[in-house]
């Protein structure tokens, strides 16, 4: 029986760079179920918030606590970046890499990676250099690479930002499958349709602070704040 990862509690968490506050102070409690979608205008601090929760951005104030130890928590999460980072190796070696990091034998890692590659429709491109893939293919690869270790928590930073409809659909399918099998998803997006399709709860971020945090259905039927209203309408919100 694995120890619980959640709840994740942020107390007065803050990230400051060059004198400017990017995120915070934030008080937030995230439970262990479902999909949380972070929305907000550009520059609101969505990316920084996600990276802060994941632990790859240094906090300048406050605290972040998991239900288990930090080391344990770090092992059970993954992150998909807005611009996917391709390692300069083949598709199958890219996907297999996280397994090799935890000591899985090379042959087995590659076999499991090949299965995942099939699932994301890159089964016949196993030995192609990952840097030669298209944008959509890269993002799918990044997703497969993030999911291959079956993380309990997956962060995604605007995963479909520069993708076409088909690629977006494929990625959303994978995400829904992952969510259905119990993976906690915390992702940001600009696509309100996508937010409605995937979210169980919504985090509306404005100027580095959490403006609204509610269940998705409630949010989309009637947001509580005027800025959220304006944002959903498509106005420019600062």
């Amino acid at each position: 029986m694995k120890t619980a990862l959640f709840p994740l509690v942020a107390k007065q968490a803050m990230v400051r760079r060059r004198g400017k506050v990017l995120v915070g102070p934030i008080d937030l409690t995230l439970e262990g179920r479902g999909t949380t979608v972070v929305i907000g205008p550009n520059g609101a601090g969505k990316t920084t918030l996600l990276k802060m929760l994941h632990g790859i951005v240094r906090m300048n104030g406050g605290a972040l606590e998991w239900a288990c130890s930090r080391e344990e928590a770090q092992r059970r999460q993954a992150f998909v970046f807005q611009t996917p980072i391709m390692m300069r190796r083949s598709v199958v070696d890219n996907i297999a890499y996280p397994l090799q990091l935890i000591g899985v034998a090379r042959a087995e890692a590659r076999a499991r990676a090949a299965l995942w590659a099939e699932q994301i429709n890159l089964g016949d491109a196993l030995d192609r250099q990952a840097t030669l893939l298209s944008g959509g293919e890269r993002q799918k690869l990044a997703l497969a690479r993030a999911l291959i270790r079956e993380p309990d928590l997956l962060f995604l930073d605007e995963p479909c930002a520069s993708l076409d409809g088909r690629a977006t659909r494929e990625i959303e399918e994978i995400l829904l499958r992952a969510a259905a099998s119990g993976t906690r998803l915390i992702m940001s997006t600009h696509n309100m349709g996508q937010a409605q399709r995937l979210a169980d709860e919504i985090l509306f971020v404005l100027q580095g602070c959490i403006h609204e945090f509610s269940l998705a259905r409630e949010f989309f039927e009637g947001p509580k704040t005027t800025q959220a209203h304006a944002f959903l309408r498509g106005d420019i919100v600062e």
């Binding site: 770090q74 992150f79 390692m87 890499y97 996280p98 990091l101 250099q129």
Partner: protein, 234 residues
């Protein structure tokens, strides 16, 4: 001008007749330089990777010093190694002076800064790419270095080949620590120096052309083994 033509003919003749002296000193040149390259790479490449991923206070100074050491005059290195290996010196008992091993030691010292500097620059760029990903995946320091060294291997090859070029043409240091002893420590470059000193320019040029041809061959061989420029690889 006549010397150049003469030199080319000499080179051609030496190679075609497989002149035994030429074969001996060419093999010795290769042995000394390739060994020095292997040892220097084993030191310089991991060091360059470590320097790229690890943040520490003296990093900027370390990088600057490393870059500056590329300009170390080889003959100065030779003299310092001589002083250490001389019978009157601290390591004299090892009896390494005037042996190919002493030449290898001197060449290693000369090319490590070069290989490390070039490798470090490209590994740093690669690291700035991989940084977020590898940290997110919780890769340990050793795992990060391994990933950089493996994925960056083409650039590392360039660094190594630069080191090879520097070493194969080096003459000052190995003259001092090797002594240019016939049938023991004479290599192509020291033989060229000798022939030049004797005024036999045609022979010196001939050996020079052989040296150039050999360097090109080694480089081509390494590129071929490394499958550079083949389909889909850069």
């Amino acid at each position: 001008m006549a010397d150049l033509l003469d030199g080319m003919l000499r080179a051609f003749w030496l190679v075609v007749t497989l002149d035994s002296d030429l074969v001996e000193i060419t093999l010795r040149s290769l042995r000394v330089t390739l060994t020095a390259l292997a040892v220097a790479s084993a030191i310089a490449l991991p060091f360059a990777a470590l320097l790229a991923v690890r943040r520490f206070r003296m990093r900027r100074i370390t990088i600057a010093v490393l870059n500056a050491l590329m300009g170390l005059p080889p003959v100065v290195v030779g003299l310092i190694v001589y002083v250490f290996l001389s019978r009157s010196g601290p390591l004299g008992v090892m009896g390494l002076l005037f042996t190919p091993t002493a030449m290898i030691i001197a060449q290693v010292i000369i090319i490590v800064p070069l290989v490390a500097s070039i490798a470090h620059q490209s590994l740093r760029e690669l690291w700035s790419d991989y940084h977020d990903l590898l940290i997110s995946m919780n890769a340990s320091q050793g795992q990060r270095i391994k990933a950089l060294l493996w994925d960056g291997r083409r650039a590392l090859l360039t660094a190594a080949l630069a080191g090879f070029g520097r070493a194969i043409g080096e003459v000052g240091a190995i003259m001092v620590v090797g002594g240019n002893i016939d049938h023991a420590t004479r290599v192509l470059t020291t033989a060229i120096a000798l022939e030049t000193g004797k005024g036999d320019f045609a022979m010196a040029l001939g050996l020079g052309f052989v040296l150039i041809a050999m360097a090109i061959t080694v480089n081509l061989a390494i590129h071929w083994l490394g499958h550079t420029e083949s389909e889909g690889r850069w």
